[in-house]
């Protein structure tokens, strides 16, 4: 499952990020990193980007990029 497909308000854990170089680094810097807990919070007006909560912070990520983030539901 990727992050875009995850349900709202249901915590997921990041398994892997299928991006490289600068994009991956940026996501890492903001806390989108393997093992981190993420909650999909709310959409913007045009449904893209979507806002996620990570490390107590709200971060907006475009859907195209969220699709490259592999996640699974918290057990």
């Amino acid at each position: 499952m990727n992050l875009y497909e995850a349900d709202f308000n249901k915590p997921v854990i990041i398994k892997n990020i299928n991006l490289h170089g600068m994009k991956k680094r940026r996501l890492y810097d903001l806390g989108f990193i393997n093992g981190e807990k993420i909650v999909k919070e709310f959409e913007s007006i045009f449904k893209n980007p979507i806002c996620y909560q990570v490390k107590n912070t709200l971060i907006a990520v475009r859907n195209e990029d969220a699709m490259s983030i592999e996640v699974e539901y918290e057990k």
Partner: protein, 656 residues
């Protein structure tokens, strides 16, 4: 300098306000990423040290200019120690950068800011334990409740070495050591090795250019080729992230889940929120226009009375015309016009703008309108520079540094002058009131104004799209945006920032520019060659072309003469029409309207003038800012692109 102290931390941790308190100054503070772009340095009051405010960054990975500035300052400049600021409610996120910085320098103080907010948010933070675990000097701080000032000043005077060490797994340590052995001695070899593993090209280039040392020498290159450096670099990031999590779990307890603000929920995912946003914009304009009217009228009247008084005085003392006329009818009139017409709306606008900036509304605008940016092939943060363009285009040009990618930044800068700034609003409002609404109906004026502003934004996006398909081909860089929590803002702070640091400084600039401009314009309208003023000769020359695009020579010449500051377009137009004849009142709408009507203005002229005001070359200050930001070539483009757009737009408008 040896007595420099670096102030660093993530964006939005309140670094700038700590800077202000320690240096007793009033640098601007803001609630969105990338506010401090220049390294401000000031003496810390009560010590011999200087505080350097580094840009707020998330990591040292050299992805943006700000990160590069911060990192290079930490690595290569001469300084005594670092103050690392964290937000007490966001410890986990903030610790990441701390762990990265500890690899560079350990003379560091951990300043836990916003300590007073812990209670409100039901958070327990064990600062003693944190200090013990990390072996670091911890200062609890609150700018609102004045906690920690003396302690921080005392700590700055000492050296506080952090005792914390962390290591990666054996394999990574082995790689780091091996690469270190290939590097020249004398540098922070461990950090340099990690940077090489992280493929930090900027650092490699910097060290090569500044010290002539090649970090990626053949030995290193060969070594890296045989290992999976991406995997190792990932593990380094994961290790640091895990460390922050473990440390945070030890000291940080939150009793309630994070509540998403009600406002965020209302604004998300509903088409009617677009309508709401437009309505809010309408409301902002309405409030600005209505409230600004009274002080404007009052000031105008006072200035006129004073002018009459001085005029009488000059007559009584037999002062020659040559002396008092240029000063009184040239300089004085332009300057007072600017003050009375421009200052009240400027203040009101900036009060609301500062609130939006400080409270965290601005990033939400960028969040909600990112889709439009992505359609027009530009970066999501362009919305932010657009919004600050409403205040001042030159400020917005500097603000465009928040974009990592040069292409995105250039697009944002080139299309910013389509956004009407505070210098242009008064004239647009005046013309709408006089010609489109025909009465003092503030609601109608605001609706028209909204319409023109939305048009300006559409054109700005359209030109962005065209630029991205022609001279600035490419794709916008990666968009991620932090939405800071909504903050309560102190009224006193809003008033202080908006009036003293924004409005007054812009007004000062406008007045300085308008003094020589007022004189020159008076001279141009009063020096006659063959019974015709120079102004008239030039405006007659321009008249033919100007008529094609719906203006007249006088209007066009006024725009050209107002290059130093957009605020003076309308006063020049009026002075141009009046020539050297005596006028008494130019600050009241009906007076202005009859002058304009007498000179052939129609509703069409009015609309064309507004459109041309939206789409013409940016003011001199903006141009020189663009030149120093991205160079002559782009300053030229930023001059020519809106001008051509405006002429083409007006041609189309006039022929349909």
């Amino acid at each position: 300098m040896r007595n420099n102290i670096l102030l660093c931390g993530n964006p939005n941790v309140g670094k700038s306000s700590i800077y202000n308190i320690l240096t007793h100054s009033h640098e601007h503070t803001g609630n969105w990423t990338g506010k401090t772009v220049e390294l401000s340095t000031k003496k810390i009051v009560g010590t011999d040290y200087y505080l350097v405010d580094l840009p707020g960054i998330y990591s040292l990975s050299s992805l943006s200019e700000e990160e590069n500035i911060a990192k290079m300052t930490m690595l290569f400049s001469d300084y005594k120690s670092i103050i690392y600021v964290v937000d007490a409610t966001q410890i986990e996120k903030n610790l990441n950068l701390l762990f990265q910085i500890l690899q560079i320098n350990k003379n560091i103080i951990l300043c836990i800011n916003m300590i007073d907010e812990l209670e409100n948010k039901n958070i327990k933070l064990d600062t003693n334990k944190l200090s013990n675990i990390l072996g670091i000097k911890v200062i609890k701080f609150s700018t609102y409740k004045n906690i920690g000032y003396n302690e921080l000043i005392e700590a700055i005077k000492e050296d506080n070495y952090c005792e914390y060490n962390y290591y990666y797994n054996d394999e990574i340590e082995k790689h780091i050591n091996n690469i270190s052995s290939y590097l020249p001695v004398g540098f922070n070899n461990r950090y340099m090795s990690i940077s090489v593993l992280n493929k930090d090209e900027y650092l490699v280039k910097y060290v090569k250019e500044r010290y002539g040392i090649n970090l990626e020498n053949n030995d290193v290159k060969n070594y890296i080729m045989n290992i999976n450096s991406e995997e190792i670099s990932d593990q380094i990031s994961i290790k640091i992230n895990t460390l922050s999590r473990i440390v945070t779990n030890e000291v940080f307890k939150k009793s309630s889940e994070n509540n998403i603000s009600l406002l965020d929920k209302i604004f998300s995912n509903k088409i009617y929120s677009i309508i709401m946003m437009t309505f809010i914009m309408f409301l902002i304009f309405l409030i600005t226009i209505t409230l600004a009217n009274y002080p404007s009228d009052l000031l105008g009247e006072l200035f006129n009375k004073f002018e009459y008084f001085i005029y009488k005085l000059c007559l009584n003392f037999n002062i020659p015309k040559v002396i008092y006329e240029p000063i009184l009818f040239g300089i004085y009139r332009v300057v007072t016009f600017i003050i009375s017409v421009m200052f009240p709306p400027l203040v009101i606008f900036f009060i609301m703008w500062t609130y939006a900036e400080e409270s965290g509304i601005l990033p939400r605008i960028a969040f909600n309108f990112d889709k439009i940016c992505s359609y027009s092939n530009c970066h999501g943060k362009q919305c932010l520079t657009m919004c600050s363009g409403f205040g001042c285009n030159a400020c917005a040009v500097v603000g465009a540094r928040i974009m990592d990618n040069k292409r995105d930044r250039i697009i944002a800068i080139l299309t910013n002058s389509f956004i009407p700034c505070n210098g242009r609003f008064p004239m647009i409002i005046a013309i709408i009131t006089m010609f489109l609404v025909n009465s003092n109906n503030k609601i109608l004026v605001s609706i028209y104004l909204c319409g023109f502003v939305i048009l300006a934004m559409i054109i700005s996006f359209l030109i962005s799209f065209i630029l991205s398909k022609t001279i600035l081909k490419g794709y916008p860089s990666f968009f991620v945006l932090e939405l800071p929590e909504y903050k309560k803002v102190k009224l006193s702070i809003i008033l202080k920032t908006s009036i003293v640091y924004k409005s007054l400084s812009i007004l000062k600039k406008a007045i300085l520019v308008s003094i020589p401009a007022g004189l020159i314009i008076w001279l141009l309208t009063n020096i006659n060659i063959n019974n015709m003023s120079i102004f008239l000769i030039v405006s007659n020359f321009l008249d033919k072309f100007a008529k094609i695009i719906g203006l007249d020579g006088n209007i066009l010449l006024s725009f050209i003469l107002a290059l130093p500051a957009n605020e003076i377009v309308l006063p020049i137009i009026i002075m141009g029409y009046l020539g050297n004849s005596n006028i008494s009142l130019i600050s009241d709408y009906m007076g202005i309207k009859s002058i304009l009507l007498n000179n052939g203005w129609t509703v069409n002229t009015a609309i064309c003038t507004i459109l041309f005001s939206l789409m013409h070359f940016p003011c001199g200050t903006t141009l020189s800012t663009i030149k120093s930001e991205i160079g002559y070539k782009w300053a030229f483009y930023s001059f020519i692109i809106p001008l051509i757009t405006g002429i083409v737009f007006l041609l189309i408008y006039n022929f349909i």
